[in-house]
């Protein structure tokens, strides 16, 4: 599903963010990406959701080398990827419903289906009363749920989330991760970046650990809760 081969990344003449990164995420897998702040988690995710090109190496998505894609092919591939951005990136001039509807409209879905699907999903994430609310009028948690709804509305094959639990308390964070697990059970490959290693330790999914530009793949249950808590606190 996602294959990184000898990936290197640096911004302009700055230091190397990622160095000779290799991994392969199987279809239907669930991975956490962990690491301290500035370790390159967001950069790694940007490479996966095609917002960034690597300086070196080769990335394959859905079995295709992405380096030679045309703009049109790039767009079509991106439709198969749902992204939850760290800063949500909701459009302030559009209502919650319109924000969530964007991936469907971009894909050319019929308008009647768009409205019914989006309304249903927003009700499911507890925002039935806020369909027409503009993002600035919503709380951080509500905005996050809108962002997640937008990422999953088109039933993507790959879901990439950058710190999706950053603005919510642990109880809601766990609930959100259960939602991602539910999507994963339905066949979506999930990659979640978080610095909250304590939260990660509650789940049994493999981990990509970033440190000093390298990625270490850790199997499930490799991060005991106590150790993870200490690491997170540090």
């Amino acid at each position: 599903m996602v294959r990184f081969e000898e990936i290197g990344l640096r911004y302009a003449v700055g230091p190397e963010i990622l160095r000779e990164v290799n991994f392969n995420l199987e279809p239907g897998s669930f991975h956490f990406v962990v690491g301290p702040s500035g370790a390159g988690k967001s950069s790694l995710l940007r490479l996966i959701y095609l917002a960034q090109k690597p300086t070196e190496g080769r990335i394959s998505l859905f079995g295709r080398d992405v380096s030679g894609l045309t703009r049109r092919e790039n767009a079509l591939l991106r439709r198969r990827i749902g992204v939850v951005f760290q800063d949500f990136r909701l459009l302030d001039h559009l209502s919650a419903l319109e924000n969530v509807a964007l991936p469907l409209r971009v894909a050319g879905q019929p308008e009647d289906k768009v409205v019914s699907h989006v309304s249903e999903l927003l009700s499911w994430v507890g925002l039935a009363d806020h369909l027409n609310a503009l993002p600035p009028t919503l709380s951080g948690g509500q905005q996050q749920r809108v962002a997640i709804a937008r990422a999953v509305i088109a039933r993507p094959s790959l879901l990439v989330a950058d710190e999706p639990t950053g603005n919510v308390d642990d109880r809601i964070a766990v609930r959100l991760l259960y939602l991602f697990e539910e999507l994963n059970r339905l066949g979506t490959t999930v990659v979640i970046a978080t610095h909250n290693e304590a939260l990660v330790s509650r789940f049994t999914h493999p981990i990509l650990k970033l440190k000093d530009g390298d990625v270490e793949t850790l199997p499930a249950h490799s991060m005991p809760f106590e150790q993870a808590s200490e690491g997170s606190a540090a």
């Binding site: 917002a51 767009a75 992204v83 990136r89 459009l91 964007l102 991936p103 971009v106």
Partner: protein
């Protein structure tokens, strides 16, 4: 297209305020230029048709050593000669009042009251077939009546045609300039829009929007603003033309052009806002597609 939903907040851009006015001004200028060209063309056609098959024969006023009787003889001889010429259907002697009426718009009533020496004018109507050429007729007449002048109005008409062509060329240049200005303005406005909304466009790309999806939003916006401005411009132009037309009618001068437009000509004017908005739409689309492709 016009009522299309827009993911980009283009309606809040400054372009919404100034672009329609700019387009209105350009369409206003183009509409006035086109009306001027049409009016000029009508004047030429009117004169050309009115003077087809017509000649004016002019016998100069008597010289100081000639009497009025000599002048009358010359006139009689000319009329007799013309009437007997094959291809001449009618010869009409213009009275002094007729001639004064023709000269009054140029010289004014006061000057004419000062007993100016006026030439004798004969209006000659020719048959379509077998009519003599003006040159042949002049030769024949001058043999009998010296200093006689035969005028087929071609020199005057030629000047009028030149003037009409110049006005048409200027009008065409104005329309082309308006089109080019519309293109340049829309390119500028669209590029500014792309820059202002870069963040939203990036997001749309990340969720799978193709360049054409984004271009559609800009082109709909440009079409809307172009049509708004174009309709305003053509409306103001119609009011202006109607006003000038009313003033010309009131002046009752046969020399000034008629500004009343035929239905087809009104349609031509109404095509200006449509054309301008279509130019704006296509320009916006191409600008977005080229700019996004360059951004990579």
């Amino acid at each position: 297209m016009l009522g299309a939903r827009n993911d980009l907040p283009l309606e809040k851009d400054a372009s919404v305020r100034f672009l329609p006015w700019l387009v209105a001004f350009m369409v206003y200028l183009a509409a006035l230029s086109a009306t001027a060209a049409l009016a000029m063309n009508k004047v030429v056609v009117r004169w050309d048709q009115g003077l087809a098959g017509q000649l004016t024969v002019q016998i100069p006023p008597p010289s100081p050593d000639e009497t009025q009787a000599d002048q009358d003889k010359k006139v009689s001889r000319a009329i007799e000669l013309l009437s007997s010429t094959q291809g001449v259907r009618d010869v009409e002697l213009l009275t002094d009042d007729d001639i004064s009426g023709l000269l009054e718009p140029w010289l004014g009533e006061t000057v004419l009251q000062q007993n100016l020496p006026l030439p004798v004018l004969l209006s000659v109507t020719l048959d379509g077939d077998g009519a003599p050429t003006p040159e042949n007729l002049a030769l024949r007449l001058s043999a009998a009546v010296p200093d006689i002048v035969v005028d087929d109005h071609q020199r005057w008409l030629s000047d009028l045609f030149d003037l009409a062509r110049t006005v048409e060329t200027i009008a065409s240049l104005v329309v082309v300039a308006v089109g080019l200005t519309a293109v340049v303005t829309v390119v500028f406005v669209t590029r500014t829009g792309l820059s202002i909304h870069r963040r939203v466009i990036d997001l749309l790309h990340l969720i799978g929007a193709q360049d054409t999806y984004i271009a559609r939003q800009f082109e709909a916006h440009a079409l809307r603003l172009g049509l708004m401005g174009g309709l305003l411009g053509v409306f103001l132009a119609i009011v202006t033309v109607a006003l000038i037309g009313h003033l010309l009618t009131r002046s009752e001068s046969g020399l000034l052009p008629d500004l009343s437009l035929a239905p087809a000509e009104w349609m031509l004017l109404l095509l200006l806002p449509v054309g301008t908005s279509l130019i704006a739409m296509v320009t916006a689309r191409l600008t977005v597609l080229l700019s996004l492709a360059r951004m990579g």
